[in-house]
């Protein structure tokens, strides 16, 4: 990568600001998706999180995956979940036995404790490990979409075929299951 600072005086700050924006979108979206009480807000949080992830994939040298993330997650998965929300009644109501008691804080604490322990452990592991650089330097050329396309059609052609088969079976299965309980008349 050529030095951006030579071309533009504050390019470094700009790049860092955009990076922090995408990190904030990812974190905020994940928090909304996990904490929102209305499900439709949770779906919106998931979409925001996926847009942030697409930006992070761009920073990880893969514009192809950034495009795919927006296309598949925001365009297909979130829209499908919104359809599911429309077809069923989804608001999270408190169970009847909690109506006259204070909010059940105990389960919240257990969930937060488990999630916090997982986060601390894995973050410490990921941040504390000294990761090795690859022995052979990676050329910029091998990041191109043509390299991904070549690999998909040669080395990974079997997996590529299998994933299309999985998608086909999933669509047929989804149709069969959703069709099953409907009245014939």
């Amino acid at each position: 990568m050529n030095d951006p600072a030579a071309a533009f005086p504050f390019a470094d700050y700009l790049v860092t600001a955009i990076f922090l924006f995408f990190v904030a979108a990812t974190v905020g979206g994940a928090l909304i998706a996990a904490l929102a009480t209305r499900i439709i807000r949770g779906v919106t949080g998931l979409a925001l999180c996926c847009i942030g992830l697409a930006g992070l994939y761009y920073f990880l040298n893969s514009p192809f995956l950034a495009l795919m993330e927006i296309l598949i997650y925001v365009g297909a998965v979130c829209v499908t979940i919104v359809f599911g929300v429309m077809l069923s009644e989804t608001d999270e109501v408190l169970p009847e036995r909690f109506k006259h008691k204070p909010y059940p804080i105990f389960g919240f604490l257990i969930a937060a404790g488990v999630a916090g322990a997982v986060f601390l452990g894995i973050a410490k592991l990921g941040h504390g490990t000294q990761w090795l650089n690859p022995a052979t330097p990676v050329t910029d050329n091998s990041w191109k979409v043509t390299a991904v396309g070549n690999a998909l059609l040669t080395t990974y052609s079997m997996a590529f075929e299998l994933i299309s088969l999985v998608l086909l079976v999933a669509i047929l299965g989804a149709l069969a299951i959703a069709r099953g309980g409907r009245d014939k008349k």
Binding site: I39, L60, M68, F119, H127, V138, I171
Partner: protein, 109 residues
């Protein structure tokens, strides 16, 4: 300051972020009272695995196509999973008039 400006070149940032996504997903899985909410939390966990693969692929793997293709397959599997799960949720809603996992206790001993 210089360290902060190179933040996007550090593998640790991405790994901590992926750990946060995993934790948010686990929290949602435990905490949610509806099946669709649990599905959204599952998607967060998928995303965390994909981000982890991509970060390690960018900074440590000798062949950069492997991680991209793996993440592409993860996205395909996530899409298939959402299709199946939503059709199951709709079938459940049709039978029980509710999608709260607490009510689905017909097979319970």
């Amino acid at each position: 300051m210089n360290h902060l400006l190179q933040l996007h070149q550090h593998v640790g940032v991405y790994l901590v972020l992926a750990a946060f996504l995993l934790a948010a997903g686990i929290f949602g899985l435990i905490r949610r009272r509806t099946l669709i909410g649990m599905l959204i939390a599952g998607e967060l966990i998928f995303s965390s695995a994909a981000l982890n693969f991509m970060a390690l692929n960018r900074f440590t793997a000798p062949d950069p196509t492997v991680g991209q293709i793996f993440v592409l397959f993860i996205m395909g599997l996530a899409a298939a999973e959402v299709a199946i799960a939503l059709s199951i949720i709709i079938a459940v809603y049709r039978n029980y008039r509710s999608i709260q996992p607490k009510g689905l206790s017909e097979l319970k001993g």
